[in-house]
């Protein structure tokens, strides 16, 4: 079935990429609707609807638009090849579909890949098929499943008929015979494979998470990449339990988990495993570790006489006797070795021999394949891939008597697992004998109550567990039974080889999971059994729809059963008075409703009843239900990832980093430092921190949220938006709100449209029914099909999607909306959102407003502040409001925009303003700012300033013609001064100008960086990269009257102007309190502000800085903020800086700043200036607004102030950060809608980190003594 050869390759496109198909209505359609051609001589049937192919051919040069009449596929070696027959009878091969089209053809693609895989491996099992498909379609959110195949049953049938190999495939045969039945199997497979943590192939949930979180490309699967995800006993992967201790190891916890490799495992039962909160292996528990070099156990207790010491490297975890380590590190050199030995014994940190290649003594390099490390599992030896001796090979080489000793893909971090030549490999299991792990207490084979003597770490739960685990092998008994197992990394090798596994089960402890249960029945402590199900019980109550309260129906029925025996008992009563008296005895006491008056039997009965109920609810069920019911965007839980971040690992990482830093700063070789802590660890740290932050968000910002953590746009803002949007709406349009929240928008819009005589239809989607259900459909937006809505030319979509972490959710919603190709998209989204002109099907920006939603634009339904008023959210980095038009409608929309004055006409206008602004900047220093420079919604020149700075590098002397123009700028100021609170016409007007500026400029200049720039800013609280603008602010702020120096009187005025506004906003905040806040702004500000605008700074430096700023990533502001908490640390670093910074605005200040900047430049020689460092430095130097002398000592109070600030203005003012990522987060411990998204996403917010002030509110009375309610949890917010 080869494609017919093409006559002229140039005239006729052979391949097309970025393709998609549309029908005659211009709606996307899958090519499977075309008639399929199985062989050359067939001629395709004619079709009713016409289908057209869009795409680009010949490496993107030629755009294709052709009608196609048939399709075919060929299952080539590499991948299935699909081709379509054009009307001109030419076959065009399809390469990559357009991204947005992928979903449409998902099912057919999966089917084809399935067929392809089966053709290649006809014997394969369903499991490996799905594994393969999953890999192939790893980028798809929804995993390939049987359902996709079901869609194309006839195709599969035909394919089987046409292809011999396929017809041999067992899988297909069974599937075709019984498509529905195999579905069940498939689900099992899916669930089963779900629970498997594949080593480096990203777990599917992780994928979703990555999708949602838009995580960075490096090691994508959170944990597994850095630390072992291989069982230390059998060196194989699968479901493992991580030890929280220093050893950093993981184990198969139950025999079940280790079946694939016949792993002894730890021998625990499933119930035991579930009960463990904090697993510590025996070694870590008793602080006795084996020396990795010689294998002997030794005490690792630092507080008493330690015999073995851990290697300090970040991911190592091995312990050594000082002598063993020293000998290996300094072979042959006795004197050195002895000295080193002493050092280690004294507690100095050391890196073990594993970190240097045996052959060439170099470090590993994870980037370069040749330099990947191969580490021996049984002794401290390591080689580079290129240095591996021949005998340690990846395959069996029969002739030379070489057995496989090396495996790729088992160890994380691009490492190779080997057994070096020192270890004899047991042929039967394919690995050396597994007696290398010695847990303490093995000698006492009498299974003592060692567990009862648990050290402090043991929790209540563990103790109880011991009662059950009496007979289950808690210790690893040294067993030498050879098992016939080939060591196979799971999910890695071809499925075929796994078949070679022969399973021999020793009955040892196999039924350990059943034993405890039996014991349950016979023993007294019913209560204990209850402990193992606590989690399940409570979660169930949340998820249980039918059983609304204590068991509901079931309760009644069971109670009935319970009361029956009582009834029958009572019936007997007349006959046996004695019994009656027995019963009534306790009851005839005064009805003091106290408890312990039930006899033992009743209690038992009740307990049993309770047990029965609670065991009927399982965690799996809950998880499943949760997954099914949550909208796709919110069903992910990062619990599993977080579970892998054990305490031990974190500690080790921390220690490693510090050591590495210490080493490198003391002048050691960078290589040495890297051996301790490689570069990948740094990234990992950040990733982990972020993950934890998201995971802990509800507790970090607890009390603020009620409800589903949603943010609704305030009605007045909505009104404004409606006013701005309605001119673009035409009669007969449909306006779709894909996340309507309280559903106010469409009502307002409807009113407005009716006023203007347009009749339109509406459709509102959300997952929760709002109060007002006008045109509402309760549906997950992601599941809405194209067919359900009219064609794009009649569609206007919006408005305020959930933001998600780093705009991930917003992006998803937008992408989904783009599937419908609406002519207009009006959006309220965070600034990080991917801009629509960058998408494949680019839209054009009509206008953009980053000002409208500054200030309190959102409210949190259901969250109240102390005054019991609905909490409002204030965005530090206000979300954008912009209008995008489909390219073919842009002309018309732009006309309308011009007419309405949403955008301005002239080019010249822009540059003038720009120049004016630049001038302003420059003039800061100079005393010519006599004009009433009011605060001016800083935004307008801020954004431009940032551009200016960017341009600094380009222009030598932008300062030239500015002076004259400065005055021109002024008149606009007053208009702009109007705060957001006063929504007067001046604001919109100013908006126009601003918008225009921004739009044009952004489009021209800053397009690429727009996402990064914080072009917008709120009057009061925008931090972002407001560089010089911030600086201005600072000066304004700090430029109080007390400032005698030059400064800028106008700025002072600004200050005053600002104050009242501030106090308006901070409802309860007395103006003075606001200053610390302001100060913080300014602190951040100065960091940037100072630099670019100082005229005293030589030009080159300026350029330098400008360049740096332009290249620095987005949200420097937020990073600053995050570092905020660390300002204290700065104190330590810069003890000497107690200069009085009152005059920082004077020239001297500038020079000082220049000095520090130079200092910085020296420190951070890299291209990218570390903003956080800058911040700190500048933070330190920040002038103290209230005129107190030293800033430093005050620093804490600054924070303290903020702390109190926040407490006095609980939810209202300060806590904006959390806001903009409003809506729902994807990950919380409950994997649910989660309470507080906010901070999470919080990239936009200033007060991002828990260290900073947060809306603690006065600690509520009930809070602390409450044992039942949630514990006060993390510190800062609640202090």
């Amino acid at each position: 079935m080869m494609a017919s050869s093409d006559d002229e390759a140039d005239a006729v496109p052979q391949f097309v990429t970025n393709y998609h198909f549309v029908d005659d209505k211009d709606e996307p359609i899958s090519f499977c609707y075309l008639p399929i051609q199985w062989s050359e001589d067939e001629s395709p049937d004619s079709m009713e609807t016409q289908i057209f192919l869009h795409g680009t051919a010949d490496s993107g040069l030629q755009k294709i638009y052709k009608q196609v009449i048939a399709w075919k596929f060929e299952l080539l070696d590499e991948h299935p090849e699909i081709a379509v027959l054009s009307k001109e009878k030419n076959w065009i091969k399809l390469q990559k579909p357009r991204k947005s089209f992928e979903d449409t053809i998902r099912a057919i693609l999966i089917t084809l890949h399935c067929l392809h895989f089966l053709k290649k491996n006809p014997e394969t099992s369903g499991k490996s098929l799905w594994d393969h498909l999953r890999k192939v379609f790893s980028l798809y959110e929804l995993r390939p499943s049987e359902n996709d195949l079901l869609d194309h049953l006839p195709l599969i049938n035909d394919a089987v008929k046409h292809d011999e190999t396929l017809s041999k495939s067992k899988f297909l045969l069974t599937f075709l015979q019984n498509p529905m039945k195999s579905k069940a199997y498939n689900e099992d497979v899916q669930i089963g494979t779900e629970t498997r943590k594949s080593k480096f192939i990203v777990d599917d949930d992780e994928e979703l998470d990555e999708d949602i979180e838009a995580a960075d490309e490096d090691d994508s699967d959170g944990e597994a990449d850095l630390f072992d995800s291989v069982c230390s006993i059998c060196d194989n992967g699968g479901e493992i339990l991580c030890c929280e201790g220093r050893c950093l190891r993981s184990f198969h916890a139950t025999l079940d988990d280790g079946t694939d490799s016949q792993c002894k495992s730890l021998g625990l039962s499933k119930a035991q495993v579930e009960a463990i909160q904090n697993f510590l292996c025996k070694n870590c528990q008793y602080k006795q570790h084996q020396c990795f070099a010689c294998g002997k156990l030794g005490s690792s207790d630092k507080s008493s006489a330690a015999e073995v010491f851990p290697c300090v490297s970040a991911t190592c975890g091995y312990f050594y006797h000082p002598e063993c380590a020293a000998k290996l590190l300094h072979p042959g050199n006795d004197a050195e070795a002895e000295e080193y030995q002493k050092k280690i014994a004294a507690g100095e940190s050391f890196t073990c021999p594993v970190h240097k290649c045996l052959v060439c003594k170099e470090r590993e390099n994870k980037e370069v394949e040749e330099l990947h490390f191969a580490v021996c599992r049984r002794c401290p030896r390591a080689y580079h891939r290129k240095c591996l001796p021949r005998k340690i090979s990846f395959e069996d080489l029969e002739g030379e008597d070489i057995i496989t000793r090396a495996w790729d893909g088992l160890l994380p971090n691009n490492r190779i697992l080997i057994y070096c030549l020192k270890h004899k490999i047991d042929r039967t299991i394919g690995t050396p004998i597994r007696n290398h792990i010695i847990f303490p207490n093995v000698e006492e084979r009498n299974k003592t109550r060692a567990k009862d003597v648990l050290p402090g770490k043991g929790k209540v739960v563990i103790k109880k567990r011991s009662i059950f685990s009496e007979d289950s092998p808690g210790e690893i008994t040294v067993s030498k039974k050879p098992r016939q197992v080939e060591k196979v990394p799971i999910d890695l090798k071809d499925s075929a080889s796994t078949k070679k596994l022969e399973k021999h089960f020793s009955g040892q402890g196999f039924d350990s999971s059943e034993k405890p249960k039996m014991k349950d029945a016979s023993r007294k402590p019913f209560k204990d059994s209850v402990k193992f199900v606590p989690i399940k019980m409570d979660k169930s109550s949340a998820a249980d729809e039918r059983k609304a309260s204590l068991g509901g129906v079931k309760l009644n029925s069971v109670l009935n059963k319970v009361s029956e025996p009582v009834k029958s008992y009572l019936k007997d009563l007349p006959n046996s008075r004695s019994e009656k008296t027995k019963l009534s005895a306790p009851l005839t006491k005064k009805p003091n409703i106290s408890r312990p008056l039930l006899d033992g039997d009743t209690k038992k009965r009740l307990l049993a009843f309770k047990e029965k109920l609670s065991s009927s609810i399982t965690l799996e069920e809950v998880k499943k239900r949760h997954r099914d019911r949550m909208p796709s965007t919110h069903s992910y839980s990062s619990k599993d990832v977080v579970d892998k971040m054990t305490q031990g690992k974190v500690e080790v990482l921390v220690e490693a980093i510090r050591t590495a830093l210490q080493k490198s700063e003391e002048g050691c070789n960078v290589e040495d430092a890297k051996a301790v802590c490689g570069p990948e660890v740094l990234n990992k740290i950040i990733k982990w921190r972020n993950k934890l932050k998201v995971y802990l968000a509800p507790f970090l910002h607890g009390m603020r949220y009620t409800s589903f953590g949603r943010h609704f746009t305030k009605v007045d803002k909505l009104k404004e938006i409606v006013n701005k949007l309605h001119p673009y709406v035409q009669n007969g349009d449909m306006i779709v709100d894909f996340c309507c929240g309280a559903n106010d928008f469409s009502c307002l819009l409807k009113e407005k449209l009716e006023e203007t005589g347009k009749r339109c239809s509406f459709k509102n989607y959300d997952v929760i029914q709002p109060k007002n259900d006008f045109s509402f459909e309760k549906k997950d937006w992601m599941t809405v099909r194209t067919k359900e809505l009219p064609t794009g030319s009649r569609l206007i979509m919006g408005l305020n999607p959930p933001f998600g972490v780093r705009a991930a959710l917003a992006n998803k919603f937008i992408d989904k909306a783009l599937e419908f190709r609406p002519k207009l998209l009006i959006l309220i989204v965070p600034q990080e959102t991917e801009r629509l002109d960058k998408k494949e099907d680019a839209y054009d920006l009509v206008w953009e407003d980053n000002q409208k939603l500054s200030g309190k634009s959102f409210y949190l339904p259901g969250s109240v502040d102390i005054n019991d008023k609905q909490m409002e959210q204030w965005n530090l980095k206000p979300p954008l409001l912009y209008l995008w038009s489909r390219s073919d409608w842009t002309e018309r929309h732009k006309e309308i925009a011009l007419k309405e004055g949403h955008i301005a006409l002239k080019e010249g206008h822009v540059s003038t303003e720009q120049k004016e602004l630049r001038l302003e900047e420059q003039q800061n220093e100079a005393e010519l700012l006599e004009q009433p420079m009011d605060i001016s919604p800083v935004h307008d020149y801020y954004g431009d300033i940032s551009k200016l700075i960017n341009e600094y590098g380009d222009e030598s002397n932008p300062i030239n013609d500015l002076p004259g123009k400065y005055n021109v700028a002024e008149p606009e100021e007053p208009g702009k001064v109007v705060s957001e609170d006063q929504k007067e016409s001046s604001l919109p007007k100013h908006d126009l100008q601003v918008n225009h500026n921004r739009t044009e400029d952004d489009l021209e200049v800053n397009q690429s960086r727009h996402g990064d720039d914080d072009a917008g800013s709120s009057i009061n609280h925008d931090l972002g990269k407001k560089r010089s603008c911030e600086y201005l602010k600072v000066r304004q702020d700090t430029g109080k009257q007390s400032r005698s120096k030059t400064k800028t009187p106008p700025k002072n005025r600004k200050n005053f102007d600002r104050r009242p506004q501030l106090s308006k906003k901070h409802k309860k905040t007395p103006p003075s309190v606001s200053s610390p806040l302001k100060r913080t702004d300014s602190e951040f500000g100065t960091g940037y502000g100072g630099l670019p605008t100082t005229t005293s700074i030589p030009d080159e430096d300026l350029d330098d800085i400008a360049r740096r700023y332009s290249s620095s990533k987005r949200s420097i502001g937020t990073s600053l903020i995050q570092e905020y908490g660390g300002l204290r640390g700065l104190e330590e670093q810069f003890p000497g800086n107690t200069r009085d910074h009152m005059d920082s605005f004077s020239r001297t200040a500038y020079t000082r700043e220049a000095d520090t900047r130079k200092q910085l430049l020296r420190l951070y020689g890299q291209q990218e200036v570390d903003p956080s460092q800058l911040l700190r430095l500048y933070g330190l130097q920040d002038p103290d607004p209230s005129g107190r002398s030293g800033y430093l000592p005050r620093q804490d109070t600054g924070f303290g102030n903020m702390g109190s600030l926040s407490s006095s203005t609980p939810y209202g003012s300060t806590s904006n950060a959390p806001s903009s990522y409003g809506r729902m987060t994807s990950s919380t411990p409950y994997g649910s809608f989660g309470t507080s998204t906010p901070l999470v996403g919080g990239r936009s917010g200033i007060f991002d980190c828990p260290g900073s002030q947060y809306p603690p509110g006065p600690p509520r009375p009930g809070f602390h003594h409450d044992s039942i309610g949630f514990p006060p949890g993390p510190p800062h917010p609640f202090q």
Binding site: I535, A542, K610, L682, S1172, F1270
Partner: protein, 211 residues
């Protein structure tokens, strides 16, 4: 004569008592019973939280006289109409809804007449009391009923106790986990915030994505 009149009124269901009762029943239909509320949840919280789903006309907490003081609360929340009440019940059932940042989601049920402590007397219902003599055959029945009731009360409170114990344990566990996680978080955060990571990154010539 009077009796006739009364009878007539009954027949036409027009007595004020009837009307009151009917109004009450209607109120019950649009009331939601919410429990598992943290002791910190106040009326205002409930009003705003449930305000998403409709207009809340009244919030009444069901006082807890018997059990200890720090157990979850429950409340009867009256909405504007029955539809809103239904939607609340279903939404709460579908998604975990949390109040005041408490991780335990609240439960919602349709309210029932029996839940209202201040319910009006059902019209036409007459309660008469009489003393029962020991020799009366009904005495034993009454006695048994009395005992049964008490026993049930005991059992119920025992079950509650069990539940509370379990919750306690769970809370304990969870707080342990939380503390542990928070500790880890703090450690990492400190590392980042005091610049160690960045300084090291500088040494390695790495660009560490700060966000």
């Amino acid at each position: 004569m009077e009796n006739l009149k009364r009878l007539n009124r009954h027949l036409y269901m027009g007595t004020p008592a009837d009307k009151e009762y009917a109004a009450f029943e209607e109120k019950v239909k649009r009331t939601v019973y919410i429990d598992n509320l943290s002791p910190q949840v106040t009326e205002a919280v409930l009003k705003t939280a449930l305000g998403q789903f409709g207009s809340v006309t009244n919030v009444q907490f069901i006082p807890n006289y018997i059990e200890q003081n720090n157990i979850p609360q429950c409340a009867l929340v009256e909405m504007e109409n029955a539809k809103q009440a239904k939607s609340i019940v279903s939404e709460m059932g579908n998604y975990p809804f949390m109040m005041s940042g408490m991780p335990r989601p609240v439960r919602a049920r349709a309210a029932e007449i029996g839940m209202f402590g201040d319910r009006p007397i059902k019209p036409g219902r007459k309660i008469t009391c009489r003393w029962v003599d020991i020799k009366d055959p009904d005495f034993e029945v009454a006695q048994k009923l009395k005992q049964l009731t008490r026993k049930h009360a005991l059992e119920a409170s025992y079950l509650v106790k069990l539940q509370l114990d379990e919750e306690e344990k769970l809370a304990q566990q969870q707080s342990e986990i939380l503390k542990a996680n928070y500790k880890k978080y703090e450690m990492l955060e400190n590392l980042l915030s005091d610049g160690t990571v960045n300084r090291l990154a500088y040494r390695y010539n790495l660009n560490v994505p700060d966000d």
